[in-house]
Amino acid sequence: MTALHNLTIAEAAPLLKAKKLSPVELTASYLSRIEAFDGQLNAYIRVLPEQAMAAARKAEGEIMKGAYKGPLHGVPIGLKDIYNTKGIPTTGHSALYKDHVPEADATTTRLLAEAGTILLGKLSTWEFAIGGTSFDLPWPPAKNPWNLAHDPAGSSSGSGAAIAAGLAMGSMGTDTGGSIRGPAAWCGISGLKPTYGLVSRRGILPLSFSLDHGGPMCWTSEDCALMMEVLAQHDPLDPGSADVAKPDFAGSVQKDVKGLRIGVVRHFFESDAEIDPEIKAGIEAALVTFRELGCEVMDVTLSPLSAYGDVAALISRSEAFAFHEETLKATPELYGELARQRIMMGAFIRACDYVNALRERGRLIAEIATVFESVDVLICPTMPGVAPKLGDLGNMMSRSRPSFTRVFNLTGSPALSVCSGFSAAGLPLNMQIVGRPFQDDLVLRVGSAFEKATAFRDLRPAQWAQQALAAE
């Protein structure tokens, strides 16, 4: 039998439902792995063993009584530590919020609990989801399970690392410029930034109100779909929440992709920005797979990548500074250096520049809608390379490389990162699949079809702990 920590949610759910797998056994297994390995990985800021075991016993009792709630019932998960949890510190990985204990759950926290998930703990993040890989915070940065000397990306660093290392079955990340998809890419998992408005932001520490998205991170796109079945709910308490019909996520990932039209934004990675040859080769191979699956593949043209980057930077820095200005001025010493620097830049953006960025954003949204009249999904890289060494991401200037992810925060489009293979060094390659607004189910279907047609989901970073121990 597959080791418990290698089961996907889709594999575990029928076993839990049939009472062949106990939530208590499953949760204990994960807690044991966290205790054994997370000291090297730093995926978790706070582990909740007593609470998790109590929830697991409750779930077991419910299932035994026949009150099975659905595919997430009894499934151990982790939350990025910017999701509010009632009575449990929610720190933003920052000294500023070290003792911040919310009085209420985030809407998503509540929905996942109501679905019967087991909260294993709170996961590490870049400080306030912006700070970068920092070494001057109360907790160390997460490491990449495929190679502990490498960066897992961020800002949902612990959320990505925990899934890849088998320290949670599902996790929640947030994404303002790529913070779900980046860690998904470098950790070799599946991560969905849903359509803006599809998943509630209520109770998630804000970074940039109009660009923030919450979403699932799992080993497979199918598992992300199962989480979206619970997460996609209209929330009247989130003013950006959309009151739309929920797609059939679980059903969609069982369908094939024959006849779908795939648009490749080739100029993004062939002329607008440089990418590592291995990433490009992974995408070209993926396009061959999609053709074999019956898709029609064609190139499409959007505005240059830099146009999106400029607008996204002006909006995100302005909105972040608006949120942090007071505390940044009053207690700058409680921020890490990277977060402090990045947020401070918002002080230099004038109101007219912010408004003009919003006007340009409108044009970019209209443009992508036009392109989607002739294709069903878009494909481009998630990240331009594989995970660099931990600490090599650097400061603000060295992060000026164009971003393939920010594009779709601006447009609000659903965007999924999947693993498209492995580099010669054994690090995950990546690919991004983007859809029309509120067609998140179709994006997940394409991702899932690719994962099922390839063997990349069969390879786990199983040896990471042993290798790290051997190196000591």
Binding site: T195, Q341, M344, F348, V355, N356
Partner: protein
């Protein structure tokens, strides 16, 4: 547009914003400021009256 900003001029901007930067970070911030300036310039384009701000993404049919 000027290719750079003097330390003195940048300090005036910092003072006006009410934020402080350590001497060790001054160069990094100054460079980042120039990047930001370039972005602002690129986003400033002629636009018609109908180029209104996109406050949020508007789903079809909403």
């Amino acid at each position: 547009m000027s290719e750079t900003i003097s330390t003195e001029a940048f300090q005036v901007l910092l003072d006006r914003a009410g934020i402080s930067v350590s001497p060790a970070n001054m160069e990094e911030m100054r460079s980042a400021y120039m990047m930001l300036q370039a972005m602002r310039e690129r986003v400033r384009q002629p636009r018609g009256y109908d180029a209104e701000p996109a406050h949020i993404f508007a789903p079809a049919g909403r």
